[in-house]
C-alpha cells in the first residue's frame, strides 16, 4: 500500500494520506487529476472493483467532498479517493465510461446534492424523488424536520416539558437568574 501511495504522491500530487487500517487508505486529489487517477488505479494497479461514490457537504468550507472508494479484489486493499469541489457551482467529470454502474451514483448525486456530471447517461432524469422543487435534500442547509412539519400535518396534541424547567416553574417560579 505504501508503495502505491508513494507512486501516487509523485504522479498525481495526492495529499492528506490517511491509513485507516492496514488494507484501507484515503487520499485527497485535485479535481482535474481525479479521473486520470481513478483510471490509473483501475487499469494499472488492479483496483477493478468500484465500491461506491458519494458526496459529503462541508458547508462551512463551501465545499463538496466526493469520495470514490475503489477496491482491488486481488490485493484485497481499498483506496478512498477524496475530491474537493466548489459548492457554488458543483460539477465533476463523469466516470461512467470506466464503470457503467457509476452513472447510477452520479444520477443520485445530481438529484440529492445537485452535483452535475456532464455527459453521464440519464443524469438529468429524476431518480428517487418525483416532482421535487426544493433545494436538493441531502445538502446540509436543507432542514428536513422543518420541511416535514410544514408539509405533512403532524398530529396535534403532543408537547413535552423539560424536567428542570418544569421543576423551576413548580417549585421556585419567582427566582430569576
Amino acid at each position: 500500500m505504501d508503495k502505491i501511495i508513494k507512486d501516487l504522491t509523485s504522479r498525481f500530487k495526492v495529499t492528506d494520506y490517511i491509513q485507516q487500517r492496514p488494507n484501507m487508505a484515503y487520499v485527497t486529489v485535485q479535481k482535474e487529476l481525479a479521473i486520470s487517477l481513478i483510471t490509473h488505479m483501475r487499469d494499472i494497479e488492479g483496483f477493478t472493483h468500484f465500491v461506491l461514490l458519494t458526496a459529503v457537504d462541508w458547508i462551512e468550507d463551501n465545499l463538496f467532498q466526493l469520495t470514490y472508494i475503489l477496491n482491488s479484489p486481488d490485493k484485497k486493499v481499498d483506496l478512498g479517493i477524496r475530491v474537493m469541489i466548489d459548492r457554488e457551482n458543483p460539477t465533476m467529470d463523469s466516470a461512467h465510461h470506466l464503470w457503467q454502474q457509476v452513472a447510477t451514483y452520479q444520477r443520485e448525486l445530481k438529484e440529492m446534492f445537485g452535483i452535475d456530471f456532464p455527459g453521464s447517461p440519464r443524469v438529468d432524469e429524476s431518480f428517487i424523488l418525483e416532482g421535487w422543487d426544493d433545494i436538493p435534500p441531502y445538502r446540509r442547509d436543507f432542514d428536513t424536520l422543518k420541511y416535514a412539519e410544514e408539509t405533512y400535518f403532524p398530529r396535534d396534541g403532543r408537547g413535552s416539558n423539560d424536567p428542570a424547567e418544569y421543576m423551576k416553574k413548580k417549585l421556585y417560579p419567582d427566582e430569576e437568574k
Partner: protein, 396 residues
C-alpha cells in the same frame, strides 16, 4: 451440471432494427413496440419498485428501473440523530435482512472510536448475522421457483423461516427488526435452551433442503425455464460492481467473509461455493449451497460460542457519545453480497454523512437494465429475484 443447449432464440432479423451503435431503434408510434410498466403495484415485482419495459413481441428491447417508492431519506435522517439513535434507524434500510445494517453501522462506529468488542459479543453478532442470512435464503431459494409459479417450495420455506424468526425473537426480542447489534456489543445473552432448539431447527432445515432439491432443483420445468436464461457475463462483474451470489455464480469467488474476515469468521471453517455458468439456475444453486453452508456455519458457531458475561464494551455515555473526526468504510457479507457503510464523522455526536453501499443499488438498476435486454417477458421476474433486488436498500 448438464447444460441445456436447446434455448429458443427469437428471429432477430426483423425487429428491432439497430442503429450504427448497435442500439435498438425504438419508435413507439410505429405500433411495433409496447411500453409496459411493471410495478410498483404488481405481484411480480419484488418489493415496491417498477420496471419500464419496452417490448417487441414478448421480448424486452429496453428496460428502465424506477425506484424511489420507498425513499425515506435515511442518510439525511441519520445526520440528525446521535450515533446511538442511528442504530434503530439504520436497520430499516433493508427490511428483509436488517442485521447487516446494524452490524456495519456498529462496526464503522467502533472502528472510528476505537471500541474493542468483547469476544462473546463478536460470536453473538456472527450468530445473528448468519441467522439473518439463513432466514433470507429460506425465503429466496424457493422464491426463485415461486416466480415461475412453483409456489409449494416457497410455502415450505416460509414455514421454516418462521422457526428462525422464533429463535430471533427469543434471542433479540424482535421478529423482523431485531435491534440486537448495537455500537459496543450486543443486547442479550443466549437464552436458556436456545442451542438445543436452534439445532433442532437446523435439522429440520436439512430435511427441507433435501426436499427442495427434489422439488425444485431436479424439477424439469424449473430447469427448462432457468438454465441458460438470464446470463450474467463475466466481464460485467467488474463493470457493474457485481458482488455476492451473482458474482460467485459467474466464476468470481468473492465473499467478504473470506476476503476481509471480520468478527470471528477466520475461526470458522467454510468455503463459499462458486460456479461459472452464470444463469438463473446457477445463481439458485449458489444460493442453495449458501444455505447449506450457513446451516453448517451456525452449527460451528453454536459449538464454539463462549459463555462470558461481558457482551458489551464499556463506552462513554451513549447520550453524548462523540466520535473522533475521520471517515471509515465498514463492510460485511449480506445474503446479497458486499454490504458496506461509509461514515464521515466531524467530531460531534452526530454523523456528518452516512452512505450505504448495498448490492441491490447496482444489481437492480444498472445491471438489471442491462440483463433484461433481449430477455423474454416471462423471465423478467425470475431474473429480478435471482439478483435478489431489495428496493428499500436501493433508495434508502
Amino acid at each position: 451440471m448438464k447444460r441445456n443447449k436447446l434455448i429458443w432464440q427469437p428471429d432477430r432479423s426483423k425487429y428491432p432494427e439497430h442503429d450504427s451503435n448497435g442500439k435498438p431503434i425504438v419508435d413507439l408510434k410505429s405500433q411495433k413496440f409496447t411500453k409496459l410498466w411493471q410495478g410498483p403495484n404488481h405481484p411480480g415485482v419484488t418489493g415496491n419498485m417498477s420496471l419500464e419495459l419496452t417490448l417487441s413481441g414478448d421480448e424486452v428491447v429496453e428496460a428502465k428501473t424506477h425506484v424511489g417508492y420507498l425513499h425515506r431519506g435515511f442518510e439525511k435522517l441519520m445526520e440528525r440523530r446521535t450515533y446511538m439513535q442511528c442504530f434503530p434507524t439504520s436497520i430499516r434500510m433493508c427490511v428483509a435482512e436488517p442485521d447487516s445494517n446494524e452490524y456495519v453501522l456498529s462496526a464503522a462506529v467502533e472502528e472510528l472510536s476505537g471500541i474493542e468488542v468483547p469476544e462473546t459479543a463478536q460470536w453473538l453478532r456472527m450468530l445473528a448475522l448468519e441467522m439473518a442470512r439463513l432466514q433470507v435464503l429460506l425465503r429466496v431459494v424457493p422464491g426463485i421457483a415461486s416466480t415461475l409459479s412453483l409456489g409449494l417450495g416457497s410455502q415450505w420455506g416460509m414455514y421454516m423461516r418462521e422457526h428462525i424468526l422464533d429463535r430471533f425473537e427469543e434471542l433479540t426480542g424482535g421478529r423482523i427488526y431485531h435491534m440486537y447489534i448495537l455500537p459496543g456489543g450486543v443486547r442479550g445473552q443466549l437464552p436458556d435452551g436456545f442451542k438445543k432448539r436452534m439445532l433442532e431447527n437446523l435439522d429440520m432445515i436439512d430435511g427441507f433442503i433435501k426436499r427442495i432439491e427434489d422439488l425444485i432443483f431436479s424439477n424439469n420445468v424449473f430447469k427448462k425455464r432457468t438454465v441458460g436464461v438470464g446470463i450474467l457475463k463475466p466481464e460485467w462483474v467488474d463493470q457493474f460492481g457485481v458482488v455476492g451470489p451473482p458474482a460467485r455464480g459467474a466464476g468470481f469467488k468473492r465473499d467478504v467473509r473470506k476476503d476481509y474476515p471480520y468478527l470471528k469468521y477466520n475461526e470458522i471453517d467454510f468455503d463459499p461455493f462458486m460456479a461459472t455458468d452464470s444463469d438463473i439456475y446457477t445463481r439458485a444453486i449458489v444460493r442453495k449451497q449458501d444455505l447449506i453452508m450457513t446451516v453448517d456455519i451456525i452449527r460451528q458457531i453454536l459449538d464454539k460460542i463462549p459463555n462470558d458475561k461481558e457482551i458489551r464494551a464499556k463506552t462513554p455515555n451513549v447520550l453524548h457519545l462523540e466520535i473522533p473526526k475521520g471517515e471509515v468504510y465498514a463492510r460485511s457479507e449480506s445474503s446479497r453480497g458486499e454490504y458496506g457503510m461509509y461514515i464521515v464523522s466531524d467530531g460531534s455526536k452526530y454523523p456528518r454523512r452516512v452512505n450505504l453501499r448495498g448490492p441491490s443499488y447496482t444489481h437492480a438498476v444498472a445491471l438489471l437494465e442491462k440483463m433484461l435486454i433481449n430477455a423474454n417477458i416471462s423471465d423478467v421476474h425470475a431474473i429480478m429475484v435471482s439478483l435478489q433486488t431489495c428496493p428499500p436498500e436501493i433508495e434508502r
